[in-house]
């Protein structure tokens, strides 16, 4: 694709405040930040060197030099601050912050919320703060984070509600096992605060976040391997439509990565037989088992 003169002009305009506020940066780092090659950056800088304010004497020109791969910008003229966020850009930032707010632990949410309001006030006050909202599927997201923690070998930071003591604590845990029971999903994990293996009820985890600390490996740890499930269903099934980004179509079947068994089991139940899990056997069997158990509730005399 040929870059237009205008697109390049914007890069040049953006380069000045970037160099001004990042003194001593290397050409390589500048190129990475602007997503172009080093030789393109050198050409850009050669051109910038000729730009300036009317008059165009050395006093009015942008002054910069490259020495040993290091860029120094001595005089930015009036391009010392980056371009302001447009209304659309600011609205996109608000969307991203709203999503972030959902994902962070309770204790950090307030900051993001305040920041979101600040973006509304400063850049897009014609679109009220409450016009943008982001609500994720809490249960599904939690299961996904737990799976990510196992597959990446990273610890989780959880906000845990102990229902018997009704107290809320923040803990760092290293997941060893996910135990789906008929009435609840349990997470077995090494808990740093307790210095031992503890079992947590997923429903009582108010927030779950991956943190950049390697999991503590315990002897009982069995890494769960992510496998694919094979599903059969019509194209216009609700589950198929809602998850179509994660599905891979193979003739008349659909393949999906299993991050956590229980989510797929429950989804199959909710579809009431319109979605068939062909394999793996353990999921298929669990769907049949839970459906059978549920039926008993209806056959018992009241």
């Amino acid at each position: 694709m040929v870059e237009t003169a205008a697109a390049r002009a914007i890069r040049l305009i953006d380069l000045v405040p970037f160099l001004h506020n990042n003194p001593g940066i290397t050409l390589r780092e500048v190129a990475d930040q602007f997503n172009v090659t080093v030789s393109e950056i050198v050409k850009d800088l050669d051109l910038l060197f000729m730009c300036g304010l009317p008059g165009y004497t050395p006093l009015e020109l942008i002054d910069l030099s490259i020495d040993d791969g290091i860029v120094s910008l001595r005089e930015p003229q009036n391009l010392d601050s980056p371009r302001r966020f447009s209304q659309t850009e600011a609205l996109l930032i608000r969307v991203a912050l709203a999503a972030l707010e959902e994902l962070l632990p309770d204790s950090k949410r307030v900051k993001v919320r305040v920041l979101r309001e600040k973006f509304t006030r400063l850049f897009t006050d014609q679109v009220p703060n409450e016009a943008i909202s982001f609500a994720s599927d809490a249960e599904r997201t939690k299961l996904k984070v737990v799976s990510d923690s196992i597959s990446q070998g990273k610890k989780l930071l959880i906000t845990y509600l102990n229902p018997t003591k009704s107290e809320v604590t923040e803990r760092k845990i290293s997941v060893t096992r996910v135990i789906p029971e008929s009435h609840r999903t349990l997470i077995e994990a090494w808990c740093d605060a307790s210095n031992g293996i503890r079992t947590f009820n997923l429903a009582n985890m108010k927030s779950v976040n991956l943190i950049d600390e390697d999991s503590i490996r315990t002897t009982s740890a069995e890494a769960e391997v992510i496998t694919k499930a094979i599903l059969r269903s019509s194209e216009d099934n609700r589950f198929i439509r809602e998850n179509h980004a994660q599905l891979e179509k193979r003739e008349d079947r659909f393949l999906i990565d299993i991050f956590q068994d229980e989510w797929l089991v429950r989804s199959a139940l909710a579809e009431g037989g319109e979605l068939l899990v062909e394999s793996p056997d353990r999921i298929r069997a669990r769907v049949a088992f839970l459906a059978g158990e549920s039926l008993k509730n209806y056959s018992k005399p009241d």
Partner: protein, 318 residues
Amino acid sequence: MRLMSSAKTERLVNLTMALLGTKRYMTKSEIFRRVSGYSGSGETKERMFERDKDDLRTLGIEIEVASHDPLFEDEVGYRIRPELFQLREKFDSEELGLVSLALGLIADSEFVDTTYSLNRRINSLAVSPLTPEEFRLSEINVVENGLSELLEALSERKTVTFSYQKEGASKSENRRVNSLGLSAWRGSWYLVGEDLDRDDVRVFKLSRISSRIETSSSSNSYVIPADFSIKDYLVMLKPGEYSVKVRVRRALALNLRNMPGSITQLDDDWDLLHIDFKDQEQALREILWLGPDAVVEEPAELRSAVVARLEKLVRNHG
């Protein structure tokens, strides 16, 4: 000899700097005389300038036009307001870090170029972003097709048109909508807006929009009420009309317990919930999801629908 495109790039940068640096409006003749890069006949220069001006505007740079001399209204002048061009609002390191972190959630999408550009500009401030290092966010799908067009339309209050296939409808219909807000709910995006042909505020699910979203050219064509809250319009957050009595195991089925309705304790194991679903379809899904932990008591038709589905599940998974 430098390439033509380099000369144009250089001229665009010089024009931006000149218009940004001027306190008063610069007339065209002043621009041609003082800004480097304008040459040729008067007509050539005029054409050059008109194209440059359009290019800068396309890039989002606002150029103000005004006549600075009431006696010579024909001689208009141009300038770029520094406060609209430059980021002068103050942010601390922590705030910038949170913005970078948030942008990371949407970087892997159609917004890739925008997030690059925004991150670059955040890194061009005197204050450096401080990212809360301890967090690795799980990857969730934040964006969906159509979001980009709708955000632009919403931010500039432009009317949008698209064809929409209503749930259960066999074909799509054209809609003209003044967008009021956007909300993600359980992995899908919803637009709330004033449907101009139906003269009513409606909710649209983005995945049901079956055409390109066309945006009108005029901005600020309507006003969003300052007290507008999208949550007031999302049906899934409002009580439904399908009344159900369902028995659930104690301390379980939080989803159902959080719905508006009443809860009665039956015995040590079971509670009876009296709740309203949107429709039978929703009731079926939510109750089946809970497996043996929820039992429908009323209405009878829902009870038999649940049983029929459970039997089918046992048949095809057994």
